[in-house]
């Protein structure tokens, strides 16, 4: 659980930066894509891993594309597999094509014969995500050739070993839904050499559906971005002092520095007495966050009190506007400070 605060005191201290511009991003939802495709530049002597989209004949770098695994590919494990207990869930991008599911392969087709020795290597380096990651092939008679399994840690044996000029398909398994960034590094020994030529460690992004509402919001705003200093809940890429989690909750634009849509403080009349009131919007789609209005009589303080008295709620369609009334009338207080606490679940 993460708490994020928006204090109205910060309103006067906005640092306005230029908005973050999202890179072009392609989402693989049903294509045949050789996601881990060796690209060798002989002139510069550099090796890269890129996504090769056979369907559209295009190449994408790891930060220009996302592989989307639909919810229909959530399987319940049968007995007798090495992927978990019977009954466990596993999301799988399969080695054979399914309708409306990305068909994800590996390719060294562009590596010229005689350029590198067999086999090449694609080493798993890191898995960022809510679950575990596995890669395997189902062989001719139904046995499992497990290539990668992050459940027992990530080691040198977590690798694929494609052949020069080769092309292969695998089953790509994820133990839970969510956003995964998976880092791979390609390498190979060039003919006539004894040491490896390496690609950079390259992250590829998988959206395993369903995403949590906040993940969906991140994916909508920055479909290909993996940098948590841009898309993380505490990040503030537009520099308007409202962290992403706050912008998400308020339904404001996280990529434009603005105070439009921010909470406001006012006075309301109840039973003949004036009360301070805090009015904020909440995006209805943001169902995985809890908003609380808190009040203190002085700052800094550790004594923030939660206010629960709803004065008014207005339905705006995608958002609702909620006004929370102070627990003490203005006449009984010298000064009051309000803040909005957003907790992501």
């Amino acid at each position: 659980m993460q708490n994020h605060f928006l204090s109205l005191l910060a309103l006067s201290a906005l640092a306005i930066n230029s908005p973050h511009v999202a890179a072009e991003c392609f989402q693989f939802t049903q294509e045949h894509v050789d996601l881990l495709s060796f690209q060798w530049n002989a002139a510069s002597g550099t090796l890269r891993l890129m996504a090769s989209d056979d369907t559209h004949g295009a190449l994408f770098s790891g930060d220009q594309c996302v592989v989307v695994c639909p919810e229909l590919m959530k399987f319940t494990l049968p007995a007798g597999t090495p992927f978990g207990n019977e009954g466990d869930s596993l999301w799988i991008l399969p080695q054979s094509p399914y309708a409306d599911v990305p068909y994800v392969g590996v390719s060294a087709e562009t590596i010229p014969a005689g350029g590198f020795n067999d086999p090449l290597t694609i080493q798993l380096k890191r898995v960022e995500g809510p679950g575990q990651f596995m890669v395997w092939q189902s062989t001719t008679f139904g046995s499992f050739d497990v290539k990668i399994d992050s459940r027992n840690g990530i080691g040198t044996d977590d690798k694929l070993t494609p052949l020069v000029g080769g092309h292969e398909h695998y089953n790509w398994g994820f133990t839970t839904s969510g956003v995964y960034r998976i880092y791979f590094q390609a390498s190979g020994v060039r003919v006539g050499e004894t040491t490896n030529t390496y690609s950079p460690e390259t992250p590829f992004t998988f959206h395993i559906l369903p995403l949590k509402p906040f993940e969906m919001w991140q994916a909508t705003n920055w479909p290909c971005e993996s940098d948590s200093s841009i898309i993380g809940p505490v990040a503030d890429p537009d520099g308007d002092a409202a962290a992403n989690a706050i912008e998400y909750s308020l339904g404001t634009d996280a990529k434009e520095a603005t105070t439009n849509g921010w909470p406001v403080v006012s006075l309301v009349l109840t039973n003949g007495q004036k009360y301070g009131a805090f009015t904020y919007t909440h995006a209805k789609a943001a169902t995985d966050c809890v908003c609380e209005v808190e009040v203190a009589s002085d700052i800094p303080t550790t004594n923030w009190q939660v206010l629960n008295d709803i004065f008014a709620t207005v339905d705006n369609g995608d958002t609702e506007t909620i006004t929370i009334c102070d627990s003490m009338p203005v006449s009984a207080t010298r000064q009051r400070f309000y803040r909005l606490r957003v907790t992501l679940r």
């Binding site: 045949h32 056979d54 139904g142 000029g165 292969e168 398909h169």
Partner: protein, 266 residues
Amino acid sequence: MRHSQLSGLGRISHGARRAILAQGNQLKPVNLFTLAAAGALALAGPGRAADLPVLTTGHTDVGIVYENDAWNLHIGQHEAVPPAEYAPSEAVLQVGPASQTTIPANSAFSFLGVAGSPVYVLPEVQNNALLFLGFGSEELTAGLFLNDEVTMSLQAVRGPGQFSVYDVDPFGNPTVLMNSGDGIAASDSVILAAGGHRHVNWAFSDPGTYQIEFEASGFLTEANQFTSSGPVTYTFEVVPEPGTVTLLALGGLSCLALTLRRRSQR
């Protein structure tokens, strides 16, 4: 069932082998000399023109194209250097010795035949010693066919044994796409996506040369019209591990001798 008639030496070899497996007393008497010749010829690859290129390894596709209002089914080795493309009648797809394996006890694979029997499989998972054969529909233009799909259907198998195409799901269960072993029907087909390709296991029950007819079809969106390529014949040559053919021939001979003796005793 649309099995075309087996012909010549291949038929004898097929009959002898089937007799060993299941139908020993159904075998018709044949000339022993012819049978021995069948075994010997199988090593050299019977029934094909000697000068055709034989494709033995590498990523190869049974390619499907529709352009200029016409189907073009071919054999593509698009990643070869230089890339190569052959008309189906202009090359032989070899199912090399490394393809020979044994049908497992797992009953899910009983469509291949009797557990423990040999079977020859070009696998869905690449084996460098074998042809890595898929169906290639990469060159089909998006929007041309309804749902961007075409159907590749099995029409006929002429050869010494059964032919099947299957893939294996993430949990190891086979999905049989085509199987001549239970007859050939409309269900012996695979749906291919425009712009896609598909790797499968290609299984043959017996060594020898197979003439396999496929037909591509689809519904043209713009013309609102069904179109079919008609049957197109591909040649597969199943080469067993060295020594196996001789043993097979000898096995066939002894079985035949036994059968003939039985018949003569009646």
